[in-house]
Point group: C2
């Protein structure tokens, strides 16, 4: 397991454990966090930490797939709040020291299937 892959896994594990010191230690002080779907951006580790500490609800995370190379990483994860479950994907950029310099979250939401392909598709 590469160091960056370990850091990507630790990112999720420390969030799940509310280990804020351990989580912040993975981040570059000037980390940039982006949510492309809402076009929101948070600059800096301190603000990003506050964002996560303040995030409402008793959320839980479970990593499904963790991948990384020398410059990038990603985790596909389950997000669980009570009886509700969703999936998310987070991408990371790493600097040469293995610190996370950029985090990009995607929160894909349910939608109705387009028509015209029913003959090829099953639903679940």
């Amino acid at each position: 397991m590469t160091d960056n892959r370990r850091a990507a896994a630790q990112f999720i594990a420390t969030l799940e454990g509310r280990d804020w010191d351990g989580w912040a230690a993975l981040l570059h002080p000037d980390v940039v966090y982006e949510l492309p779907q809402s076009r929101e951006r948070i600059r800096g580790r301190e603000r990003y930490l506050q964002f996560n500490r303040d995030y409402p609800s008793e959320w839980h995370l479970r990593a499904k797939v963790v991948l990384a190379d020398q410059t990038d990483g990603c985790v596909w994860f389950d997000w669980v709040v009570g009886d509700e479950q969703a999936e998310g994907v987070v991408f990371f950029s790493f600097d040469g020291e293995g610190l996370i310099t950029r985090v990009t979250d995607f929160w894909p939401e349910p939608y109705d299937p387009p028509s015209g392909r029913e003959q090829l598709v099953e639903r679940w």
Copy 2:
């Protein structure tokens, strides 16, 4: 570059080039394609090929990040149709021969930012 990473990159490149033979050669005959957001599933390379050949519009793909290990892979890509642009994420499972056995697509759509975090966030 690992063989699986090369296959993940080729998946996007062959789709973009409408190189259907090259694309199908990356897939296990019993590949399963899933779209969790619409809960759609397509079983088998032939149906999945038809799905892609029939997909409407003059779409174009450009890989932004490609990652893979011995069992999994993913690509974060831009999807462009005319003046419109979106982002997508695709995950792969690979068998021991390097064939893709599972493809999972996410198409995150824009949403309005929740209130209560304006003091931490900039918009773009």
